[in-house]
Symmetry: C2
């Protein structure tokens, strides 16, 4: 009787969050908030190798978070929806609020996370 959230919807939500659950992809999305960028530009901006960025962009594009447009040899990527910014902002607010808890969460690998100095600015 209590059927309302289908497992398919849960899987979709999980996929969406999974697309956002990687620092590299979040950095890419942040960089795209200022406007469209090319792959090489993004790679230089976030300090990752080109194939790696290309792979992450494919992920983001397939999940509908970014869209691409080829112009000559270049491929310009941009955020596909302003809602993404809203989602990131809300997550940012939550992180600021539960920062201590999230930071204390040792369940997931601490990828190169130096030290938090309460800098939530």
């Amino acid at each position: 009787m209590t059927l309302a959230v289908s497992s398919e919807l849960l899987a979709l939500r999980a996929k969406l969050f999974r697309g956002l659950a990687d620092p590299s992809r979040l950095a890419i999305l942040e960089a795209l908030r200022d406007g469209p960028r090319t792959v090489g530009d993004l790679a230089a901006h976030v300090g990752l190798q080109q194939p790696n960025v290309s792979n992450h962009l494919s992920c983001l594009r397939e999940c509908g978070l970014v869209s691409s447009a080829q112009q000559g040899r270049y491929v310009h990527y941009r955020l596909s929806d302003g809602r993404i910014t809203t989602l990131l902002g809300l997550a940012d607010t939550m992180v600021a609020e539960v920062a201590r808890g999230v930071y204390a969460c040792t369940r997931y690998a601490e990828t190169d996370t130096p030290q938090v100095e309460g800098s939530l600015s």
Copy 2:
């Protein structure tokens, strides 16, 4: 250059999204929208085994998404913040909008999602 967002903050955001990037955990959070529940109740509700649910709950608790309170032999879990519902709702809206794209996203495994009888409202 000039990374607008520090890598530490990106890591925190990624952790938060990672906590939300699993169908089982989303099912648990959905079940908790109606109010506090015990571990066994949750396990029966989402169709997962008790140790598995307990493990996911530990994850969610460590990340500050749920809080627990022991009453006798039982431990009641509840959402720690109403913001979580907001975040899930926004994600839901986005999923509905980019559903086609997310469906087509074959980059991540379509884990056999647990059978859920979540109640929407």
